[in-house]
Amino acid sequence: MIEPAGEPQSAGGAPETSSPRHTIELRGVSKRYRGTEALAPLDLEIRDGEFFCLLGPSGCGKTTTLNLIGGFVEATSGEIVIQGENVTNVPPHQRNVNTVFQSYALFPHLTVRDNVAFGLKMSRVPARESEVRTRDALELVRLTDYADYYPAQLSGGQQQRVAVARALVNRPAVLLLDEPLGALDLKLRKQLQVELARIHRDVGTTFVFVTHDQEEAMAMADRIAVMNSGRIEQVGTPEEIYARPSSRFVADFVGESNFFEVERRGDGTVVTAGGSPVPCSMGASSDWSRATLMVRPEAIRFAAHKGEHLCLEGEVLQSSFLGSFTRVAIACADTQAPVLATLPYGKRHRQELRVESTVSFTWDPEDAVVLDLQQA
């Protein structure tokens, strides 16, 4: 097995300038391309051995951030510290970081074995050790039998694993993965998600993974940084980000959500724009007057009887049985977009949610996340 990257390969030299718990620190790092800001100054700490995910739509700056860590892009300002060493001005081939590229970038003229051994050859690892490490790396990604094939003879998933082995064999402090599953079909992608998570557990190296697929991020990451137009919106565990999104963008990008524009009245009741009172745990605190409530579809409950306290009413637009759950879209006077609700299989008879029937629904106060607080 490949051992965890304990120390930097340039061991001994660099003085420890930061807490060893962080493999990567970005301090005020920004990037401008010809005057346009690709990345606003950002601070980010990635912990030792964690599977960290940069998540966001295209153009949000996630790949730029990855390229800054890899050294392929020069920072306009700020500094990048990897394992306590300031590498801001160190070229990629001297950084203790390896990358798995989206299109894999395997060398077509070299066999799988020679591809994997390339990094070791470059750093002049003795032949015997190189052979052992290459074999171990191929074993790690379960491609031992393909050592003598050329990349063109492998399937997409196999090529992807060669790329992972080629990077990990160098025992980098950090493995950077740039949408490595993007070119694969859905089923293979799911398999490789499991595979990558296993490899991460086996080697214990810090992984930094870039993706625009929130499900992929949730499936693998220990922590996620959600990015939007050159800024980090929120950093947290998948649960934190799903349950307590810090902005409307995060709530919208990660999972499905319903938004209600609300007002807080003097008596502490919270009402929608249409004037209907709704459940909200923040009614008691008096330092705000307007906000957006975010409620996940699975938190929406249908009232057992009409006129239940703090209910909204609406007309069922569509009710779709999707196997493990039923998804209901409700036209509601208090929101612009239809309210989405999901009901687990067997929880409720479909007939009761017939299209065009009127329903009343509500949620528990602690399920409503209050966003965009504003003073009067």
């Binding site: 392929f72 390896n98 970038a105 003229h109 066999t111 390339f118 990094g119 470059m122 050592a147």
Partner: protein, 289 residues
């Protein structure tokens, strides 16, 4: 009525097709009959190097190969061709990189003008270089001045071949190599050159054949020496001897085989790689066992 019509159309089509076929044969004959005759006469015992064919012989080849003037000309030709190949391969390959990769302004224009010597008549290149060498620099004409003249002509071919290969080169591969610890030189040595290698070899072979039978530029610039084409030219001034036919035949054979090699190199490399790839898994299984 309709059937009759179709019949007419079909007959018409047959006639046109036969006519075009005959025309194609004529063109082929026009191109290749003289060369075929020249080859034929080189084996003809008739000492005037023409019809009638009085018998078959290799005598003229023997004669040609033992003629020291011809030996000398062949040697000069090979020396010139090798030097031209080296210069134009190195210069052409190096030039292809900025032409494909840099963000130079007017890159298209620069590229066009660098490949222009292909279109400039050899006569012009020859005269221009002659006055440049003799009037401007007072150089003695020699094999070296001929080499420079031919390199001017051959380099653009190398640029074209290598540049077209570089266009299709995935630069991400270099980034990956850099990520794995390869500096600029190692990237060139282990990634770029092996991948564009077939094109470089093809370019070199082109340069070699172009040089081997280049005549006009060489005539202006080589001074007192003879390359093979120039020797043949001086001989035919006094009538075509069977010996010249033999030399010309050998020259054709050499040029043809080198150009064939040039065209086939990329394919051969690909085939060899595939062969290796399918052959080796077996050996690795043996090693594992």
């Amino acid at each position: 009525m309709a059937a009759e019509n179709a019949d007419v159309v079909a007959r018409h089509r047959r006639v046109v097709r036969a006519g075009l076929g005959a025309w194609a044969v004529l063109i082929y004959a026009f191109l290749f009959v003289p060369i075929a005759l020249l080859m034929l006469f080189s084996f003809n015992a008739n000492r005037y190097g023409t019809f009638p064919i009085t018998g078959w012989t290799l005598h003229w080849y023997e004669e040609a190969l033992s003629n020291y003037q011809i030996q000398d000309a062949v040697q000069t030709s090979l020396q010139v061709a090798l030097e031209v190949t080296m210069i134009s391969t190195v210069v052409g390959t190096a030039a292809a990189f900025p032409l494909v990769r840099s963000r130079l302004p007017f890159r298209g224009g620069i590229r066009a003008s660098l490949t222009l010597p292909i279109l400039i008549p050899g006569l012009l290149i020859g005269v221009a270089l002659l006055s440049y060498f003799t009037n401007l620099f007072n150089l003695q004409l020699s094999i070296q001045t001929a080499v420079i003249g031919q390199a001017v002509y051959a380099t653009p071919f190398v640029i074209l071949v290598v540049a077209s290969r570089l266009e299709g080169f995935d630069r991400l591969l270099e980034r990956a190599a850099s990520d794995l610890g390869a500096d600029t030189w190692k990237r060139l040595r282990y990634i770029v050159l092996p991948l564009i290698g077939p094109a470089v070899v093809a370019g070199a072979l082109f340069a070699f054949t172009l040089s081997l039978d280049e005549f006009i530029i060489t005539l202006f610039l080589i001074g007192g020496h003879n390359t093979l084409p120039i020797y043949i030219y001086t001989q035919v001034k006094f009538g075509i001897t069977p010996e010249v036919n033999a030399v010309a035949t050998m020259l054709i054979a050499a040029s043809l085989s080198v150009s064939l090699l040039a065209f086939a190199t990329p394919t051969l490399v690909r085939l060899a790689r595939r062969r290796l790839a399918t052959a080796r898994p077996g050996t690795s299984a043996g090693r594992a066992a």
